[in-house]
């Protein structure tokens, strides 16, 4: 479903991604862990082309997407993204946040978009909050609206960039539950997270990134209990505490 081939990215002289190769099959939930600055977010952004890779190729559903002659707006519609800081549209209600993309990008009618948005909000457990503005919602609620907003575009895959890192502990569970349900329904997802419980439950494979390369990958149990690399071991021991 998603294939990344030897992708490099420079920010000025900083070599952020140093040749990443990754394959995510349809319906797989892949978890990426790694210290901050290791290039995890940049990798996600290279997949939906919010950041343009400097070298290498990205495929989504068999389509080579980082060519010059491709419509980048189209590519981004294929892959939903959820951000660490939610980034809900401040001036719109929860319902309008979910409706905006389908109406303005896909040209869906207002009624259809509204029906679908209501369904999606119900799916993330927020039917009652449809008319609330982001500022009136808790962090966990905002993040669930953000997931609904991404799903409204019918993406082929979802990218989660540390979706629970900005949340108060009491709200983490509700967001992870939504994500777990999504994975169980067979959504292809790449999740950058340090939630080890979630990773063990949902992922068949965990990738450990450091310094812009993939140092190690494997089954959650393997990575958490018997990491091969010294740096993986050091990192895992820190997050498991």
């Amino acid at each position: 479903m998603i294939r990344v081939e030897d992708v490099h990215k420079y920010f000025g002289t900083l070599h952020v991604l140093r040749g990443i190769t990754l394959d995510v099959s349809k319906g797989e939930a892949l978890v990426i862990i790694g210290p901050s600055g290791s290039g995890k977010s940049t990798l996600l952004r290279c997949i939906n082309l919010l950041v343009e890779p400097d070298a290498g190729r990205v495929f989504i559903d068999g389509v080579h997407v980082n060519r010059h002659d491709i419509n980048r707006e189209w590519v981004r519609q294929q892959v939903g993204m959820v951000f660490q800081s939610f980034n809900l549209f401040t001036h719109l209600t929860a319902l309008e946040n979910v409706m905006l993309g389908p109406i303005r990008v896909k040209g869906v009618s207002r009624e259809q978009a509204e029906d679908k948005a209501k369904q999606l909000l119900a799916r993330v457990g927020l039917a009652a909050k449809a008319n609330a503005y982001p500022a009136e919602l808790s962090g966990g609620q905002q993040q669930r609206v953000a997931i609904a907003r991404a799903l409204a575009m019918d993406p082929k895959a979802m990218l989660f960039d540390e979706p629970t890192s900005a949340l108060d502990p009491e709200y983490i569970r509700e967001v992870l539950d939504v994500m777990t349900a999504l994975a169980r329904e067979g959504m292809t997802m790449i999740v950058v997270t340090h939630e080890m419980g979630f990773a063990s439950n949902v992922a068949r494979r965990i990738v450990f990134m450091d310094g812009g390369v993939i140092l190690e990958e494997g089954h959650p149990q393997e990575i958490f209990e018997h990491p091969k690399q010294e740096r993986t071991r050091a990192f895992v021991s820190k997050i498991l505490r």
Binding site: L50, E73, F83, F89, T90, H91, L100, V105, K129
Partner: protein
């Protein structure tokens, strides 16, 4: 603890109120004494002369409003251009050309804003006027003055409004654009549906300030012979020998424009208010 603090606040409030009332009554009394008691405010003059003032007020209002609206167009475009971060340079000759044009426009915008903000409006008015007078000496001087005044005011407010728009657009968090881009919005659509609805709400108060400031600054137009409200007041004061009456009317008429404008905008602002954007009262609990 709390109640002591409350008592203290209550006392301060009471004192403030008394002080305000005393001051206001004193000032009004003094004005009346000067205007009516000592010199005698001529109501007959006011009753007969007010249409002239109204005409002056109309000139002031319409020059300001036309300049303000055209200036808003200029300010919006330049503000937007200057708010945009350095654009990506696409490969190829066309990419280079687009990049070059954008860069040039942005730097020109910088120069324009620097020139407008860095010089007195008075100088700008006289400058534009003298250029036009030399260039188009065949035109009617009154018309020429009006055009010069409009051009100078428009250019001036355009520069200031561009800064207001730039600040408004830049205040909208970059995460908003990123989120819009991530669901497939083009740059333009992200601007139109996500950034602008937020930025425009944020710039309403400073834009109102700018209108009121411009209205007052338009009195400088009298220097190039435009007969606006202040000029009427000045003429009447000197030629009719009625300084108190005329400037009382002038003051009243300025307030008659500025106060309703502020009130109307306040109303609009309240209607458009969204929780989490701009100035906030306590968050509404509408859920």
């Amino acid at each position: 603890m709390g109640s002591l603090e409350d008592v203290r606040r209550q006392r301060t409030r009471t004192f403030d109120t008394i002080a305000a009332v005393v001051l206001t009554v004193g000032i009004i009394g003094l004005l009346l004494e000067v205007l009516v008691g000592r010199y005698g405010l001529s109501w007959t003059y006011i009753a007969s002369a007010w249409p002239i003032y109204l005409r002056g007020a109309w000139v002031t209002f319409y020059v300001t409003t036309v300049a303000y609206i055209v200036g808003m167009g200029i300010g919006f475009i330049i503000g937007w251009a200057r708010a945009a971060r350095v654009s990506v340079r696409k490969p190829g000759a066309q990419g280079a050309a687009v990049f070059g044009v954008k860069y040039t426009l942005r730097r020109m915008g910088d120069g324009y804003v620097a020139a407008i903000r860095g010089t007195p409006l008075f100088v700008q008015i006289v400058f534009v006027s003298s250029v036009l007078v030399i260039r188009f000496s065949s035109l009617d001087p009154n018309q020429l003055a009006l055009i010069a005044g409009l051009v100078a005011l428009t250019a001036n407010t355009g520069g200031y409004q561009s800064e207001i728009f730039r600040a408004g657009i830049q205040t909208v968090h970059t995460g908003q654009v990123e989120a819009a881009r991530a669901i497939g919005f083009s740059r333009w659509k992200a601007m139109r549906h996500v950034v602008l609805p937020q930025a425009l709400r944020l710039v309403i108060p400073p834009l109102t300030n700018e209108y009121i400031g411009l209205l007052k600054a338009s009195s400088l137009l009298l220097v190039i012979g435009i007969v606006e409200l202040t000029e009427i007041g000045r003429r009447e004061a000197f030629f009719q020998g009625k300084p108190f009456e005329s400037f009382a009317i002038v003051t009243g008429l300025y307030l008659l424009i500025t106060v309703p404008v502020s009130k109307i905008v306040e109303y609009i602002e309240r209607r458009l208010r969204v929780p989490g954007l701009g100035s906030q009262q306590a968050p509404t609990t509408r859920v």
